[in-house]
C-alpha cells in the first residue's frame, strides 16, 4: 500500500471525528505553543541584543572597578573584590591614554545619579544624570538630533552644560527650542547644548530620560567619582581585528600600573561584548532548560491522550480492521494505517501550536518585546510533535495489526 493512500486514509479518519480529534490535541497544542513561544522570546531577545551591540558601531570595551562576571558570583567574591579592587582614577585614565598603542579612542565616564530636574514649574524626578568626556559621543555612537554633544574645553572648565535625552527635551520644552535654554539640575543652573534622537524603550524601559554633563562638572557637583559615581573608561581598538589585543594590552597596562604579581588576580574589571553575550548565554541556558521542560511535560501528556484515543479508535474500528484484513491488508498495512493516523494527528496539533505561537509572538512583539520565530524552532516543534505521535501511535497500531481477522470480523 502506497504512503499517499495511507495518509489519505489517516486524514479521512481524523476528519470523521473532528471534535474528538480537536479535543485530543489540546495537550499537544498547549505544549507546542508554549515551547515555540518561549523559543521565540529567547531568540527575539538574542537578536535584539545582537542588533543593539551591532548598533553601537565599533566594538568597545570598558575598564571598570569590578568585573561583574567574576566578582559578583556570590557574597564571598563580592566581599573579596570590594577589599581588593580600588576605584579607578583620572590618573589611571591618563596612564592608559598615553601608553596604550592599540586603543583607538578612550573616554572616561561616571556612573550616574537619579536627579531632580526643573524648568520653571515643570519638575522631573529621577532623571539619570551622568558625566562623560567629550569623545564619548563617538565611542558610544550617540545620535545627536539637535545642537551638539559636550566639548572638551567644557569638560576641562567644568562648565555647567547639559546634553539631554529626547524625553527630557519634550517634557521641559514642549514647544521645542531647547538649545541655549537654562534648566536646573539638583538646584544648579545648566545650559542645554544638545538633544539626543529618541530611542524609545528597550524591554519596556524608557531610554530617553537622561542627561549627560561634562565629567568634571559631574565630579565637582556630585561629590567625587567614587562608589555609585565610580569612574570607568570606555575604549575602542584601532581596528576591529585588533580588538582582543587591545583588551589584553589594557589589562597588561593596568596590572603594571597596579603592580600586580603574576599570581595575583586583577583588581579591576574589563568587560567586553563577548563577556556580555557569554553571560546572556549562561542565563538563557537555564531559562532554556525550564522552557523545554514545561512544554515537554505537556507534550508527554498530549502523547498519552493521543495513545488513549488511538486505543479507543482501534477498538471502535475492529470490524473495519477485520474487513481490511479479509480483503488482503497485511499486518504492516494496518500498522502503518494507525501509526500514520497518530503521527498525522500529532503533527496537526504541532502545526496548530506553531500557528498559535506565531500569533502570540506577533502580539508580544507588537506590545512588549521583540520575538523571533525561526525555521529551526518550527522544525524542532514539528519533529517533537511527530516523535510524540510515533510514541503514542506505535502500541495501538501494533495491537490493531495483530488482531485476528476472524475475531475482528465478528465485532460490531
Amino acid at each position: 500500500m502506497k504512503f499517499i493512500e495511507t495518509l489519505k486514509l489517516a486524514l479521512a479518519a481524523i476528519w470523521a471525528h473532528k471534535l474528538r480529534s480537536a479535543l485530543t490535541l489540546l495537550g499537544m497544542i498547549v505544549g507546542v505553543t508554549a515551547f515555540v513561544v518561549v523559543v521565540s522570546l529567547i531568540e527575539g531577545f538574542n537578536r535584539y541584543v545582537d542588533e543593539k551591540i551591532a548598533g553601537i558601531g565599533a566594538k568597545s570595551f570598558t575598564v571598570q572597578r569590578f568585573n561583574p562576571l567574576e566578582d559578583f558570583k556570590d557574597t564571598d567574591t563580592i566581599a573579596a573584590a570590594q577589599r581588593r579592587n580600588k576605584e579607578l582614577t583620572l590618573d589611571d585614565y591618563d596612564y592608559l591614554r598615553e601608553r596604550a598603542q592599540l586603543i583607538g579612542k578612550i573616554g572616561a565616564r561616571a556612573r550616574g545619579t537619579p536627579s531632580e530636574v526643573k524648568r520653571g514649574d515643570e519638575v522631573l524626578e529621577d532623571v539619570f544624570v551622568s558625566g562623560a568626556t567629550a569623545n564619548c559621543v563617538d565611542i558610544e555612537n550617540r545620535d545627536v538630533a539637535e545642537g551638539r554633544f559636550l566639548a572638551e574645553p567644557e569638560n576641562e572648565s567644568a562648565a555647567r552644560v547639559a546634553y539631554i535625552g529626547a524625553d527630557v527635551a519634550n517634557k521641559l520644552f514642549p514647544s521645542g527650542n531647547s538649545i541655549g535654554q537654562e534648566i536646573t539640575i539638583r538646584g544648579l543652573p545648566y545650559r542645554v547644548i544638545g538633544v539626543e534622537a529618541a530611542k524609545g524603550t528597550v524591554f519596556g524601559i524608557p531610554q530617553d530620560t537622561f542627561i549627560v554633563i561634562p565629567l568634571k562638572t559631574y565630579s565637582v557637583n556630585y561629590g567625587g567619582l567614587i562608589r555609585q559615581r565610580s569612574l570607568y573608561f570606555i575604549a575602542t581598538s584601532i581596528t576591529d581585528e585588533q580588538f582582543n589585543d587591545a583588551v589584553d594590552e589594557s589589562r597588561f597596562l593596568m596590572r603594571v600600573r597596579r603592580k600586580l604579581g603574576p599570581n595575583e588576580k586583577d583588581n579591576f574589571g574589563i568587560v567586553t561584548p563577548d563577556a556580555i553575550t557569554g553571560l546572556r548565554d549562561r542565563i538563557f541556558g537555564t531559562i532554556f532548560i525550564v522552557a523545554i521542560a514545561v512544554p515537554g511535560i505537556a507534550l508527554i501528556v498530549g502523547a498519552i491522550v493521543i495513545m488513549n484515543i488511538m486505543l479507543v479508535s482501534v477498538t471502535e474500528r475492529t470490524k473495519e480492521i477485520g474487513i481490511r484484513k479479509s480483503l488482503g491488508a497485511r499486518q504492516m498495512d494496518i500498522l502503518k494505517q494507525f501509526l500514520v493516523e497518530a503521527v498525522t494527528l500529532a503533527i496537526i496539533g504541532g502545526a496548530v501550536g506553531i500557528f498559535l505561537a506565531w500569533v502570540v509572538g506577533a502580539i508580544v512583539t507588537w506590545w512588549f518585546f521583540p520575538t523571533y520565530l525561526s525555521i529551526l524552532a518550527i522544525l524542532g516543534a514539528l519533529a517533537a510533535s511527530g516523535g510524540a505521535g510515533v510514541a503514542s501511535g506505535i502500541f495501538p497500531a501494533w495491537k490493531a495489526a495483530r488482531l485476528d481477522p476472524i475475531e475482528a470480523l465478528r465485532a460490531d
Binding site: M1, K2, E5, A12, A16, K319, E320, G322, I323, R324, K325, S326, L327, G328, A329, R330, Q331, M332, D333, P405, I406, L409
Partner: protein, 254 residues
C-alpha cells in the same frame, strides 16, 4: 505436474474419479483439502469444529456447502478463504500449500485468489460503493487510475453503474450485497466464497442475488456458497453436506 492432469478440464473431472495424486494432492484441482482438522480450546475442553475433512474442487465449479447451524460451515469457509489455518491437515490452493504459509502470504492469497461475500455484507460504512470496491486493489498495489477503471467495471457487472458514489446506508440490502460481490470479483480471484449471502435478504432479493451467482458461474467463476437453506443449495451443481464437522454427503446434482 504431469501434462495429463493439466489438460483435464473441470467438466470432465468427475468427483469420485481416481485422482492423479502428487505429494498427496491432485495438482489439477483448484482446491485440495486432506484430512483437515480445526480444534478450538475452550478452557479445558477441546471443541473439534472440523474432524478430518477431505475434498477436491476443480476450477469453474459451483458448489454449495450445506449443514445445520454449528456444523462447521463457517469454519470451513474461513479455512478455504485463508482467513484461518487448520490445526491439522493439508490445504493446497492453486497448487500452493496454504497450511504452511505465514500471515503476510495468507494476506496476499486473500487479496489475489479469494473474493469474500458475507451475510452482513461487511462494507466500510463511511466509504462509497466505488471506494469499497477499490479496497482489494489498494492492497494489491494497483495504481489509482487503473483501480478506478476496474472498480467501475466490477460495479457495472453487478448493475450498479448509477450507485457508485452512494454510501452503504444509502443502498438497499440487495444493492449492498451486490457491492460486496463486485468487491469480491474486482481482483478476478480464483474463488468466490459466500457465507450465507442471502441470510440477511428477503426472498425476492435473495433470488436476484442467486441469479447473479448463476450468471457469474456461467462466465467461468468458481463459486462456493455456504448455506443452511436447501433451496439456495439446490442452485449449485454440487452439494457438500456437513454435520458435526464431518462431510456427510458430497454429490453432484446437475
Amino acid at each position: 505436474m504431469s501434462d495429463a492432469t493439466v489438460t483435464l478440464s473441470p467438466t470432465e473431472n468427475v468427483i469420485n474419479a481416481p485422482a492423479t495424486e502428487v505429494d498427496g494432492h491432485d495438482p489439477s484441482m483448484l482446491i485440495s483439502m486432506r484430512d483437515i482438522w480445526k480444534t478450538y480450546q475452550m478452557g479445558t475442553e477441546k471443541v473439534h469444529a472440523l474432524h478430518g475433512v477431505s475434498f477436491d474442487i476443480p476450477r469453474g465449479e459451483y458448489i454449495a456447502i450445506i449443514g445445520p447451524s454449528g456444523s462447521g460451515k463457517s469454519t470451513l469457509m474461513n479455512l478455504i478463504g485463508c482467513l484461518d489455518t487448520p490445526t491439522q491437515g493439508q490445504y493446497w490452493l492453486n497448487g500452493k500449500n496454504v497450511s504452511e504459509m505465514d500471515d503476510d502470504e495468507l494476506a496476499r492469497i486473500r487479496n489475489q485468489e479469494v473474493g469474500f461475500v458475507f451475510q452482513t455484507f461487511n462494507l466500510l460504512a463511511r466509504a462509497t460503493a466505488l471506494h469499497n470496491v477499490e479496497l482489494p486493489l489498494i492492497y494489491g498495489g494497483v495504481s489509482a487510475s487503473q483501480r478506478h477503471e476496474m472498480a467501475k467495471q466490477a460495479l457495472t457487472a453487478v448493475d450498479l453503474t448509477d450507485r457508485m458514489s452512494h454510501k452503504p446506508n444509502e443502498l438497499s440490502g440487495g444493492q449492498r450485497q451486490r457491492v460486496a460481490i463486485a468487491r469480491a470479483l474486482v481482483n478476478h480471484p480464483s474463488i468466490l466464497l459466500a457465507d450465507e449471502p442471502t441470510g440477511a435478504l428477503d426472498s425476492h432479493t435473495s433470488a436476484e442475488i442467486m441469479d447473479l451467482f448463476e450468471r457469474l458461474h456461467s462466465e467461468g467463476n468458481t463459486i462456493i456458497v455456504v448455506t443452511h437453506e436447501h433451496d439456495i443449495a439446490e442452485r449449485a451443481h454440487r452439494v457438500i453436506s456437513i454435520r458435526d464437522g464431518m462431510i456427510e454427503k458430497d454429490e453432484r446434482i446437475r
